[in-house]
Amino acid sequence: MSYIFESLDTFVTWLQHLSISSIINTYWFIFFIEIPRYYLLEIIIVTYNILTYRRLEKKRFYARFRLFKDNPLVTILVPGKNEGKNIYKLVKSLAEQTYKNYEVIVVDDGSDDYTPLICSDLEKHGFIDLYLRCGVRGGKASAANYGAYHAKGKYIVHLDADSSLDRDAIEKILMPFYLDPKIKAVGGTVKVRNYKDSICASMQAIEYLKTIMVGRQVTNTLGILHIISGAFGAFEVETLKKIGYWDIGPGLDGDITQKIRKAGWKVSHASDAVCLTNVPVKWKVLFKQRLRWSKSLIRFRIRKHRDILYPNRNWSLSNFVSNMESIIFDCVFNYIWLFYFIGLITNFSNHIFEVMLLDFLIRLCLAVVAFGVILTVTERKREELFLIRFLPLTSLYTGYFMRIVRLIAHTKELFFFSSYKDPWNPEKTSRYAQLERA
């Protein structure tokens, strides 16, 4: 007990000796990189969005009117392997939709459990319009392509089998297509359904709110949205056909967004179209998932779609900025952070405890600010308030855990091409993907 008080005492005396400039000097990474990008920018954009809400609302009203007048057939495409147990929950939430003109296509990518039985039964009873099945696993991209080929709708809504939708989600995600005819793909907001399952899930819930609900609203407003989540995204079928549907993943959602952007179309984000999904509840599973996601940055943005960065005929500022933004902030600054962190430890080896504690406190303050932003944006404040108790942990989660995961993933991918060995894709397809550098 006394040890804690002594430590706090030394911390306070240490603090008293610090000036503002020395704090900024010490935590330059936070003040010059993280705050402007992740906090200041967000506050400005969200404020801007709130101020222009009225003008947008009118546009959205007319867009909704045109949507229901046009009433296009929407294909809801659900590829997956061994997802039979989740399908019923999904189709139940689909049956509740305010937008009714849709068909459901479930693609079974070589399931080896009871999925075929469950799905053909659901098909017989009319919950599913078409159930497609591949006898052998071909990977998520091939499953999605198989379903997309049979889609009769004007738009495809791509869903993960373990997700379920708010009852107005389909309507909301289709609206941007009628706001701007150049928009050919729209991402929805993905939230965590099982946020009470474990601390790990709760942390991800906060992360999803910050990076997807707020973060993508910001990049969308700036016109540099670079990903449409695979769990919930809408695409125009004509455009999908032109760009050749999905390519091999992992991270095929980011890849297809890039392809649409490269083709000269716009992508958008509907932060009010909410989809709930289950996230990993164990840190180990989360770690593996994030390794896979992070590798796709190197594989697609730096390798496959590097031509976006070249000043050629096809060059566009927004695509360039969009790609550079994610490369710099997610990859380059990560390595810089590593050196910054090492420097911090070596320079302040005497006061390492005090330095880390202050770092923690600064991040906590920022997290509170960020949570305030989340609460101004979200439509379900009461549920989200539950997460406030986990705010102290976010500084550890985003500040350290996520950075370390990304560092490992990027290093592995940069030097060892490890995403081609990921069992997430069948080996036969990965082999070709690697040969083609695709």
């Binding site: 070589g110 053909s120 078409l130 159930y131 497609l132 099945r133 591949c134 006898g135 052998v136 071909g138 990977g139 991209a141 091939s142 499953a143 392509n145 198989y146 080929y149 049979h150 050749g244 549907y245 999905w246 390519d247 091999i248 036969k428 397809t429 082999r431 070709y432 993907a433 040969l435 083609e436 695709a438």
Partner: protein, 543 residues
Amino acid sequence: MITIQNNNNERRILLLDSQFNLEESPDFPEYLFDAVFIFNESVEQTQNILNDINPITSQKCCYKPLFVARSLEGKMGDYASVIDGYIDDWNDKDALNKVEDIINRRNELGLNTPEEKILSSNQLFVRLTRFLIIRNNLIMHPVLENGSSSGYVIPIYNLFYKLGWYKLSESFVFVQSMVEKGYFRTTQFLNRIYLCPKCQHSHLLYIESCPKCNNSMIHSEEVIHHFRCANITPEHTYNFGGQLRCPKCHQMLHHIGVDYDRPATVFTCDVCNNSFLQAKMQALCSNCQSVSDVKSLVPINVYVYEITKEGIYAITSLNIGFSIYTEFHDNFLEFNRFVNRIRLLAEQKFSGRILGDVLVGKIWIIDSTSATVRNRAELLAQVCQYFPNNKVSAANNITYINAIATDYKGDQEQAVLDFQIMLSEAIRAAAYVLRPGEKICYTYMKLEGNGSNIDDFLNDLNFVATNPDDSVDYDPNAINPNGDRQVDSPLLKDDGTVETEIEAIDLNKPAEVPNDTEDTQESGNTSFLNKVKDSICHIFSSH
């Protein structure tokens, strides 16, 4: 040519070689011949003759042995089932034996009288089953026949189905009811087949069709998955001058399993362009042209049936549920329905809705050893006619009459007395059915007490009284007031064997007996009986 010849056993054989209207010919009455031999060498002509001369259409040749020319052996198709032998000469040893066998068996079973005309499909089945019993063909083995109505058919039934005598559903109902009653038993399971739900025919065409529009213009196609670009589309999109080329990345496909594979097959409807994994299977009936889902087809288990001993006893007797009496006499009820009716009347009686007494009269015949004798058709016919306003039933060697005793003045005792008188008259009128040593008796039961003893009452129906209210002994001079000939039924002993009564063979006995005086006396008696009946009929009302 048509003629009658005696064979070596002094049996008369009707010989014919061409179509002949035997039924309406007065020259060849039923009793003039014992067997039929069609000596025509042509298959078609013989079949035409057999269309007239068979157990169903010909009452004269009903169960008689039927032979055709030896050269036709194996060529007669379904007709073979009504043919007893293929012979060149009616004095053939086999033919002689066969004729004797059949005649003896008919006598044994008491089926030696001419049958009535067929009026319902159930009579037809009973007739055919009796035909089989006489031939001792107790196993009915369905055969798988090309061109038959329901795939597996019992040949003799199928012949008459083809001749248009019944509907398929009727034959299923008949066989099923026989099995339920224990008259047939299944000995071997053959197959489980599916029939058209509308017409029970087996001639179904199976059609794969689109689950959405039910059209059968569909085609199936394999799907090719190209690994390197994850393109997965039907095979025709890859077709490029006989080679396979990916429509997405325009690379040639080389080696299955290495750069591409075929993970699935998908159906596409050419009409509505719908894609589906499993085509809907439908069955088109080539008989009634209805299209039904394969799930709604009627499953039928095909068994080999054997006619049981009870079956032989029941089918050769008139007690069979759908006997001719249910169709001829309005007031005849099958016994289980009769019991239900008594139960219903009892309920009404105990709840006060019927004022009169519920009575059940019982008439039975005992032989010289005081054992009851099987019900005789004539007795039942006589009772049915005698009590036209009362329900009549027969079972357990007893004939039952149901009555509600009340007259217009509500004098119940008088009404019960009248019922007794009428029963006495009835057994006297029916005394002509008796044989030497036999005695016809009656008693009656009156429903009394309250609702609790109804089961005892119904149970008592099964037993005869040791002291009958009245009885009439055998009288050689008794004649049938209606002038019908006497018919005998076989006796069934306790061990199940059928015992023939010698007297029963003497068919024409009652016809020989009457002389003028007795005739006038009898006719007077009949008119008296009718008078009594007329006067009493209005007293007994039946529901």
